[in-house]
Amino acid sequence: MARIGVYVCHCGTNIAATVDVAAVRDFAAALPGVVVARDYQYMCSDPGQDLIRKDIAEMGLDRVVVASCSPRMHEPTFRRALESAGLNGYLLEMANIREHVSWVTTDVPAATRKAKALVAGAVRRVALHQPLEERYADVTPQALVVGGGIAGIEAALKIADGGFRVHLVEKEPSIGGQMAKLDKTFPTLDCSACILTPKMVAVAQHPNIVLHTYSEVERVDGFVGNFRVTIRHKARSVDMQKCTGCGTCWSKCPYTAPNEFDEGLGKRKLIYIPFPQAVPNKPVIDRERCVKFQSGKCGACQKLCPTGAIDFNQQDELVEENFGAIIVATGYSLFDPGRGPWGYGRYPNVLTALQFERMVNASGPTGGHVQLQDGSTPRAVAILHCIGSRDTNYHEYCSNVCCMYSLKLAHLVKEKTGAEVYNFYIDIRAFGKAYEEFYNRVQNEGVYFIRGKGAEVGSRDGRLVVRCEDTLLGKYREIPVDMVILSPAMEPRPDAARISQVFGIQRSADGFFLEAHAKLEPLKTATDGVFIAGACQGPKDIPYSVAQGAGAAAEVLRLLSAGRVTISPVVAQVADEICSGCRACLPICPYHALTYDEGVKVVLVNEALCKGCGTCVAACPSGALSVSHFRTPQVLAQIEEVLAV
């Protein structure tokens, strides 16, 4: 007979206010095998854990049940407590009477009954637990960072400086991300390129960084410490070894297309670098549009290239690499304001904030001149906040950074043109360091603030008109302007769903990647060894993205420098005297952990590959497969008791 100790936690009043803790304790004390049942204020505290240790030592407990919070929270804590008292950590079972009972129920008798049921199930189950030993695996001392924006760049540099090799994968032809498109940064008005490009160059020159631009991660196999990743190098049509980046090709290419980097405002050639400071500073051919690819004619770039670097026959290339840990920093997209009533795509002088950033930038399509379509300078400019955010028609969330970049743009308009500037806002959220001060500064510069969301943009007498309800005046207003700048929400990238599946990251309701814990694990994901950083997790400004990139790098360095990872002992086993060799389980396993031994005609489990999901166990017609810690008798016993109360 097992000797079980049951510990019921009050969690202050978190549990005790809804569950009659004493009644649960007394109920548990009477269950078969239970030697001692106690209740305590905070079981996770040192004195709480000491209760368990003391009882193990003095009463010879060989099994422990803790009825408290979710095992996802404190199972490691109590396992360690058992181990420090010489008991295997897997001889513990937790009954989740907080998240699953006291916090979701108001009815005390019903909550108490449910708590008793869960405790009964845990007591029956723990009696059948077996001691298990954790295993270890070596960690491949190399990291993968996906996304070459500021968060990914920061992460890659930190890991590389820490002495480990990093592969940085970027799907565009150059690293730099969205930050490279910005003119100035709030609230200091630092030139964005001036602070970003040194980091981009550092990436290119770092001996520990391998850069894969114009590349995408196709597939991820394996697990923490040992991921096997397939990277697709898209065909650039340019031999990176031979190309010197001299620029002859893109200056001679006779055709142009809208420039994505300038948000469609300017033109680029069909063989191009996205922007002058691109890293690597080597071009790519736009195969969708290039005349050579479409009709076989032209080929000017190839004829004129002094090093013979142009290769029209280049193919995509698949590269496989092993990594110990992965950081996903794939960034965001801007909400498309063409979906709403703001005249975007209809009136040429309605721009997005990012288009305006390009316009106001010295290397942008107008050489930094703020101008209307006809080349004249605007006399009045409207900036519409919350486009697509804080709007139940589109995104409910606040996009976090738009207030501040709108203020920055207001300042730039004022500085460059002296025009009247109207900000249409719902609330101003100037939450960061020196942000409120910047808001005051912009107000003092004479920028007008109208408290009311820009509801619609129309036109009258050749000018644009912004319609809104001024909620401070309590009046409907129409403001005539020459230019409208929309401040669209940051939203998940269109390929976020695919990326989340490739890396095993969950997503929250708004579509951004989901962190392991909203407060305490902002960089981890549900998949061990895969971390997230930057705006792929939610709207963020530059300092926050940089901090996350550095934080994720610390997570990775922690794993890589430890050199080994603990692997859960929850794995499948085969009873080979029962296995009939039917092989029904083989196609079930996504990890190829099961193999059929032709010699003995049974299935074998490769424990290093098995992740312990137990899907094969449910498929075994003869009951030969089992999975440790979730054995069928253990689960069945739990079911029986959970339902008995």
Binding site: V104, T105, L118, G121, I639, L643
Partner: protein, 181 residues
């Protein structure tokens, strides 16, 4: 039913990564839902054997809920697809046992869908309260023991998934048969 209102017992098999975490989130967010759900944690919804579902009904569950990650989001890549393919077979088996389709449900509940859990549990509890206690339970027929489910709720030969309240009790239904009809 005697005076006291019938409170069904619903056993939930929740995968550790999405649905169990979703239930934790419901708790952390202090969302309220009926106390009828009792959750058993499994690593993957693919671990749930049909035996476990039958065992739950045999042991007194009035309903069983299997919850896993959304298709494509499985922590183990494809475990939930196996669940998805097994469940229709299991549903046919349950129908042959005479178990009303509303008593068994498969739901995709992600780690951030606390609200969805509330909705699923509330719906199940409402539906099962209309059906009444599962007639073949150990609690109502102690002499049956755990292994033998009680008499059928509906004719085994005519399972009509999705139909609610239309199942006439079979001639063999004992006194404890469907309460709704």
């Amino acid at each position: 039913m005697t005076g006291e209102e019938f409170e069904p017992k619903i056993l939930g098999f929740f995968c550790n990564w999405c649905s169990y975490a979703g239930a934790d989130l419901a708790g952390v967010s202090r969302l309220k839902y009926p106390a009828n759900l009792r959750i058993v944690r499994v690593m993957c919804s693919g671990r749930v054997e049909p035996t476990m579902v039958l065992k739950a009904f045999a042991c007194g569950a009035d309903g069983v809920l299997v919850a896993g990650c959304h298709p494509g989001d499985c922590h183990y890549q494809q475990g939930n697809y196996k669940t998805l393919r097994r469940v229709p077979l299991l549903e046919r088996t349950l129908a042959q046992f005479g178990i009303h389709p509303a008593r068994f449900r498969l739901a995709w509940i992600s780690a951030n869908e606390g609200q969805k859990l509330v909705q699923v549990v509330t719906e199940m509890v409402d539906e099962i309260k209309k059906l009444g206690p599962f007639p073949g339970t150990r609690s109502r027929f102690p002499e049956l023991g755990a292994a033998a489910p009680g008499p059928a709720e509906r004719p085994a030969a005519a399972p009509v998934p999705g139909e609610r309240g239309a199942a006439a009790p079979a001639a063999t239904v004992a006194a404890g048969g469907e309460a709704h009809d």
